[in-house]
Amino acid sequence: MSIHIRGVSKSFGTFKALDNVSLDVPQGTLLALLGPSGSGKTTLLRIIAGLEWPDSGRIEEDGEDITDRHARQREVGFVFQHYALFRHMSVFENIAFGLRVRKAPKQEVEAKVNELLHLVRLDGLGARKPAQLSGGQRQRVALARALAIRPKILLLDEPFGALDAKVRVELRQWLRRLHDEIGMTSVFVTHDQEEAFELADEVVVMNHGRIEQRGTPEEVFEHPATPFVMDFLGNVNVFHGRVEKGQAFWHGIPIDYPDYPHSQARPARVYLRPHELDIARAAAEQPGGNAATAAAVTGSLPASVLRIARSGAISRVSCRPDGSDTELHVDLPTDTARDLSLQPGERVTITPRKVRVFLPDPEYVI
């Protein structure tokens, strides 16, 4: 079932949780709502589920307006952040709940629940109480309970937020496979970009109650639409530069920027991802040579190494570009870093393979 959200707004007192949000979720998509806390992603999820009413705007399922439909009639499976399992009920009764309130025949309930217990790999644990389960097991009970009512849409609020790292990764892959098997339209909320990128077909980045960008994980990662998305995806070097006549300049290095053809120079922000920079040991400096001119010619920047940190497969080299106070980080495969064997204090040149330039928001321009 497809979901269409049309111009939904929602405020809590003076706090604007959602500001005229429109979003289409095609049938069978696994979509991630990614954003910091307070960005409105959970509110949007709860509005789709009918657990929260929008102040304005419509929600449609397959073209049918369901804005005024009560949560209990929406046929939506909802997995809560802290699972919200019924504490006094056994795992079996938790999963059976949706069928029992629908007055399903006893044998049917039993067969269905056992099937779901098997699906979530909890065979034989039906008699346990939620308190006797691990976090990952509780998560799967919550999922089975939501699936028991044969929902048309599956909504998950920070599904892996409360789990430890190892269980999280395992459950994530499992959920992706489950989605591929069932093909149910699913939306999940997360603040973890890694989770969103690994799991989702499409990622919607939200901020301040608005959608900043929507796209496949590749699109969002390779072509961040706004400075917020770039910042939120994190792990990036940010520098101040300027643009004029179709070119941006970063430490004297020109970067094509055809969006700004005007001759009047404007400040701009330059974003460089650590893994999109090349680093090389600087050739011995020629006497009397001008570093800045050399940089402009070769498109690379002279810098000195501050330190090298190794974390698993990736090593991070921190440098200070000449004439700058801001540190610049370069990520290298650890093997490459070992071969290069740079030492703190050494002179290097840094060549960006890819640079992104953002002008400040137009509203700040006088």
Binding site: R102, L147, V167
Partner: protein, 307 residues
């Protein structure tokens, strides 16, 4: 969990404090209570039974107490659950005022409460004449007793429920709704089982208070033997009439009820503590228990879900 103890106290100080505390509890609680039973059974169980069962006015007082108290407790249970749910699930203007007002009966003297009821429902009162023309007599009758008893026990259930419902939170109820449960199904299958021990605790306390209520009931009842006397009023009347053994017999019934309440209270409080621990356990996640392999036999399991 072991509680911290002060080890630096001088043995003499320590001993004196223990003696003082035990002495006060013994002198003020154990001795008087024991003497009530001693007095009541001074002439043997047969005389005790005669005093209770063979006096029609005493019989009526016991019956009246056993009617009025459950009625008042029932009213308070419905009111308490509804109010606690409202207060713990919604934020609205006047919410804290409502919570504060629920506590008024704790701070107002029961006699004042009784007088207030007389002012409203009495013959010269605000609503009295209207009700009387409809054939309803409130003051000097059992409805007045129920009202007075309800008033003085009002905070007991609601006060017990608010913190528990706040701690549990609305998530389970929302989950039930999203699974298709109706309002009544959510209440009976999710809310009620979650609050049952707190509710029972409130009911037991309210019942004990209702059975023993004297001041408010004294004012509204008119103290009519065989008509509006409840057990505490009957104890006082028999005592005034110098029928001490009969008075003590009724008093021993009240004291016995208090002891039963005490036991019930202890049992329920243990359950409540266990539930609070469970709630805490449910919020913390012991992931080390998780050893289930996740990646086998997938496609067979998902059959039937692709409707």
């Amino acid at each position: 969990m072991s509680k911290p103890t002060i080890t630096s106290a001088h043995p003499l100080t320590h001993g004196l404090l223990v003696a003082a505390a035990t002495g006060i509890v013994g002198l003020l609680i154990v001795v008087p209570l024991a003497s009530v039973f001693a007095e009541a059974f001074a002439e043997g169980p047969a005389a005790w039974w005669r005093a209770l069962a063979h006096d029609p006015d005493t019989r009526h007082a016991i019956w009246l107490s056993l009617t009025v108290a459950p009625l008042a407790v029932a009213i308070n249970t419905v009111f308490g659950v509804a109010t606690a749910w409202l207060v713990s699930r919604f934020r609205f203007p006047g919410r804290s005022l409502l919570i504060t007002l629920c506590d008024v009966p704790f701070s107002v003297s029961p006699v004042v409460a009784g007088l207030a009821l007389v002012l409203i429902f009495g013959r010269q009162g605000l609503l009295g004449p209207t009700l009387e023309s409809l054939g309803w007599k409130v003051i000097f009758s059992w409805p007045g007793l129920v009202l007075a008893t309800t008033f003085v026990t009002l905070p007991l259930v609601v006060r017990e429920l608010i913190p528990v419902m706040e701690a549990i939170g609305p998530e389970e109820e929302l989950a039930a709704v999203s699974l298709g449960a109706s309002g009544w199904q959510v209440f009976t299958r999710v809310t009620l089982p979650n609050i049952r021990w707190a509710l029972l605790h409130g009911i037991v306390l309210a019942n004990a208070r209702a059975m023993g209520e004297f001041g408010a009931v004294y004012v509204v009842s008119g103290h009519i033997a065989g008509a509006t006397d409840t057990m505490p009023l009957r104890v006082e009347k028999l005592f005034q009439e110098y029928r001490t053994p009969a008075s003590m017999a009724v008093a021993s019934v009240l004291a016995g009820l208090a002891l039963i309440t005490l036991v019930a209270k202890v049992v329920i409080e243990r359950r409540l503590e266990a539930e609070a621990r469970e709630l805490e356990a449910a919020r913390s996640l012991p992931d080390t228990l998780d050893t289930t392999p996740l990646d086998t036999g997938f496609s067979t399991a998902t059959k039937g879900l692709t409707s």
